[in-house]
């Protein structure tokens, strides 16, 4: 051991670099093509948003902030707020309901659990579009049209099946001993759910909530059909409005899309920060 001289770390790293082969170059090329294919629409959005003469083509912008000024008009700001309200409310409803459902399915001996879970999975694959017409009739009868809360409730229902799956898996991972220890200490069910299961399934809850938020935030058809009140217009409907019969307002579409995608990005970062490592099961059970 004493005679062995280890190479400095950077020398080893240099040795790791193997020569460029045809296979490697080919792989790199394929990846580059895929990367560019994903990147191009983003480039268009960013360039067109700042372009006074934007079109569907990617071109170097004629710099302007007018597109953003248009986008932040009072009506459009309201639409963003409506989207936020609808998405937050539907996410809240869906997350609470899915969490409770997932807990019951995960912990209680429910007959035919796996059959039920597959039924739920199939439901999550059901296209919303085929539900819209009967749903419209139902909402008309109930007098729920033009109610944002009723719309949020339906959107919550559509994202719930998949959220139940996500949450069930995350609750399954929590050792049962922890709950049992809480039962023995005299905890009530709400206390076990809030103080033991909830903190430990927080990463799963965040992931499910993001999924619920994004599906509602991006939903165009349901809010448009169920809520025709102009004061309840959502952001995707506004983007649709930029496509006129005479002209398509490309710059506005791009600028609005940019603003519209921000909350989702922010959500990912915030949730990522909340869930990072803090609540892993380290040290709970050996």
């Amino acid at each position: 051991m004493t005679t062995h001289v280890t190479a400095p770390p950077h020398a080893e790293r240099r040795q790791d670099r193997s020569p460029l082969t045809a296979g490697k170059a080919g792989r790199g090329l394929v990846l580059a093509v895929i990367g560019v294919a994903f990147l191009l629409p983003f480039c268009w959005i960013v360039f067109a948003a700042f372009d006074s003469q934007a079109s569907f083509a990617i071109q170097w912008p004629h710099p302007t902030l007018q597109n953003f000024a248009d986008v932040f008009s009072a009506d459009n700001r309201l639409a963003l707020w409506n989207s936020a309200y609808l998405s937050l409310l539907s996410t809240l409803i869906a997350t609470v309901a899915a969490y409770l459902a997932a807990y019951v399915i995960s912990r209680k001996q429910v007959p035919y659990t796996s059959a039920m879970m597959f039924a739920i999975l199939f439901l999550s694959g059901l296209p919303i579009n085929i539900l819209v017409v009967p749903l419209f009739q139902m909402y008309t009868k109930l007098g729920w049209l033009s109610s944002m809360n009723a719309t949020a409730a339906f959107l919550a229902v559509t994202s719930m099946p998949f959220m139940i799956w996500m949450l069930k898996n995350s609750i399954d991972d929590i050792p049962k001993d922890l709950e049992e220890a809480a039962w023995i200490e005299g905890s009530s069910l709400p206390r076990v759910l809030l103080r033991v299961v909830l903190p430990m399934s927080l990463p799963g809850i965040c992931a499910a909530a993001i999924y619920g938020f994004v599906t509602t935030w991006g939903n165009f058809l349901v809010p448009m059909v169920l809520d025709s009140d102009p004061a309840h217009q959502t952001a995707p409907v506004v983007v649709y409005g930029f496509i006129g019969a005479a002209a398509v307002r490309w710059g506005n579409i791009a600028a609005y899309s940019l603003v519209y995608s921000l909350p989702v990005l922010v959500l990912y970062f915030v949730m990522g920060r909340i869930t990072r490592g803090n609540y892993a099961t380290g040290g709970a059970v050996k």
Binding site: P175, D177, E180, W183, I184, E185, G186, Y279, G283, A284
Partner: protein, 385 residues
Amino acid sequence: MASVDFDHVWKYFGDIASVSDLSLHIEDGEFMVLVGPSGCGKTTTLRMLAGLERASHGEIRIDGEVVNSLRPGKRDIAMVFQSYALFPHMSVYENLAFGPRSRGERKKTFDSAVRKVAETMGLTEHLGRRPAALSGGQRQRVALARALLRTPRLFLMDEPLSNLDAALRLQMRVEIAKLQRELGVTTVYVTHDQVEAMTMGHRIAIMKDGVLQQVGVPEEVYNNPATSFVAASIGTPRINLVDGALRTGDSGTEVEVLGVRVALPVERTALQPNDTDGSEVRVGLRPADLQPATGSDRGPVFGLIVDAVEPMGPETYVTGHCGAHLITARFPADHKPAVLSTVQVSIDPTKVYLFSPGSGRSILDRSRTGGPIAANQLSVSSTHN
């Protein structure tokens, strides 16, 4: 503090009986150890007592009160889990305070109790840490401290030491036994480790396949095992169980084993009329009762071809074979025979165990004062098969 009764308790999981017809009385203040291999029903028994599983049939009583349908939190018990079951998102302090908070106590009332138990268990400087930042032994102490925070009617412990290293396990064994003695709280302790069972319990209950095999103080279970399974479960190294046959000899009944005949003390046999010459039996010989022959031995001597010699310090384990039988003997430390040599080993005739080859039940009464054990022992057992 409380007494516990299991009254003909059964537990089924689907069609499988995990616990069968368990009847067991645990005295107030007693340290009862349930011991047996995995899947024997000991943990299920403990969980039924905790209220985490419901008994399928029968009654479970704490202090005479039937608790079958009482929720765990209402039973006034404390439990230490094999996995420790500490809440990973809470500090040690919060873990300890979780119970009092669940019961609606105010911080003013439980704070001093938490700090005191933390001090007793040597956890004061770790109160602010999360379980992930603690060593295995410290986590185990937190789990124990959580149980010790109040004086419940019952302590339930589910293999609390199985995740610790050997040295720490020994230390905690002593500490838990000491704490139990000081507090006097009735304790039910589950383990698969027979050394823990023997050293910690006032009485031990040995289970196999959901059936209680024997209950008794450690010495009684060791000296007078009811079945070959109990004999094999208790004692290190494991008892040697070899096939033998009953013979009628000059001095009465004898057992032929390992090529020699051992005369059985008449007053201690509980043999039936059909246990005649030639009946097959399982013969149990504890390693400690097999000693190197001196020439003036009380019993017969057989030759053992040595396969392995394990010096343990105060004694030496010698493993070898005699015919097709593998035999372990516990020799004094200064006896270290060479491997492949033949040593002469003497059998103490007063310490021979006989079991029915079918049911495994003891057919030799080993209690020195008692008469023959339960009549029809053999015939009753054989109807079981």
